[in-house]
Amino acid sequence: MRNGALFQLILLRFREFIREPEAVFWNLAFPVLLAGGLGVAFRDQPADVFHVAAVTQQLTQSLKQDKELAVDELSPEAAITALRTGKVVLIAEPSTNGAVTFRYDDTNPVARNARLIVDRALQVAAGRTDPVTVSNTILREPGSRYIDFLVPGMVGLGLLNSGMWGLVFSIVDTRRRKLLKRLVATPMPRHYYLLSFLWWRLILLPLEVGIPIGFGVLLFGVPLRGSIIELLLLCLLGAFTFGSMGLLIASRAQTIEGASGIMNIVQLPMWIVSGVFFSADRFPAFVQPIVKALPLTAINDALRANMLQGASLSQLVPQLTALSVCLLVCFTLALKLFRWR
């Protein structure tokens, strides 16, 4: 076993990985730091207040009656500056005959909400009484926060990154060094070389997936509502799909620069449209079929459905199909095109 060629090749993968501190950082620590940073930045602030500005003392007094508003009294010029720099989301200005004008950006959902609250505060201060009495029961459900959305996305992104980085740089560098040719000149079975990458991805997978998920579950209470076994199967399928994409990119490239270019062309669209940081549903309907067919969208949607909604694999047929087709096409092409020198 210890002297077996496959074992030695897997050991080679391990040594090359562990002796490259950058690779360890980008693979394992970076996704956690990113998710942590974003989770803190976009955490749901309880009973958030809207920062608004008023330009007269009278308006300021009226608005301060409402607990959901934080009001600054500013000169008209200072108020405009504050609005432009995002310190306030709305300005209340007096108009003729006691009327009031709101100045805000209607494409900003926060500003639109602030407008409703400010309007309510002014009307109530002027003596409006509401015909219906309402009371609130607050329900905060884990699974609908931004961090819940983000953690499965980071897992998907991590699978993509390590499939690409782990395979492409290693293979292309080996080819550039003419070491691939040297290996082929030995009795080493060629499929062992490719198998060593497969095994290495398998060995690294629990860490790669376990770290961001464990981090989300323990620190932020991200739910795991689906079957853990099915979650692992999804990760495995994702890892092999992205691994085969990496293998295809590495199959002919002679230089790291050339391979990096292709990697960026492949990865960049997915980083943007595949719903890592925000929902892929935001893109227009006519591009949705393409967006949904991308492997990163498929794995992100599937991971979210499993973790947040507790969906079973049988409910994820479109995503599983997209991933499997990509895996088969890339792997077959890669084996056909692979240049052993």
Binding site: N3, G4, A5, F7, Q8, L9, L11, L12, R15, E16, R19, E20, T174, R177, K178, L179, K181, R182, V184, A185, T186, P187, M188, R341
Partner: protein, 308 residues
Amino acid sequence: MPPAALRVSDLKKSYKDVQAVNGLDLEVFPGECFGLLGPNGAGKTTTIEICEGLTEPDSGVVEVLGLSWKTNAPELRQRLGIQLQETQLSDKLTVRETVELFRSFFREGPTAEDAIALVQLQEKRDARVGNLSGGQKQRLALSCALVGNPDLLFLDEPTTGLDPQARRQLWDLIIQFKKDGRTIVLTTHYMDEAQQLCERVAIVDHGKAIARGTPRELIASIGVQHVVEFSVGDQAVDLSHLERAPGVRSVTTVDRTVQLQVTELHSAVPAVLAELNRQGLPLTQLSTHSATLEDVFVSLTGRHLRDA
């Protein structure tokens, strides 16, 4: 005569518009060190890579250890030791890890420790490959070629780019391998390397073996024992008298340097000095040496190995 360890006949290989190998024939016998000597671009590497089963020839016969690549590739891979030009082994592995990796591909051979000892790298056993000198890297490459206890060892330009001391050290190793009875095929563009290491040499130019034999035979074949070289700066020399001078076999001019192939140094040198004196030309450089494989190449092609 024993069966050949390597037999190549009428080998041809072209790349796009370059005919890299053009009808080359070779025969290497067990236990000898055979050299392919020729300038860069002569087709040596293409030839050796075809013999190593790494490149497909266009036509011709290649028989290695009596086997053919088409039918016996796995067997041949086990029995050949190969060192390629310009392989960079993984910088992040140590010497021992690298040799262990290569050892794992072969069914038999020395232990990794012994293979490291064969190339005298014991004290660097735990050093990273990235921290080795050029000569040490080349010795490690040799060690990787030896781990399968090969019946035939291919070395492609084993000392190119090394400093003189590292070259010397590598030569000593190769001489030791010869004493162990290994069959070696090496390529080189250093005539002194071929002369030092090889029992027999094929001089390769433009994809053909233009001469074959022991270094001694090849040097004798040009019929001269010595070479006299001189130059007179920018001025033109009338060579007609020198060509008829006693002991001079032939006269050639390469890059303003006049070269005389001579049989008797003691009569040729005075003749040169007398002739230059008669023509009133200043002597700016004069040297003599015993004939070498370099002179064989010059007399066969009219070019020097180094600038061919």
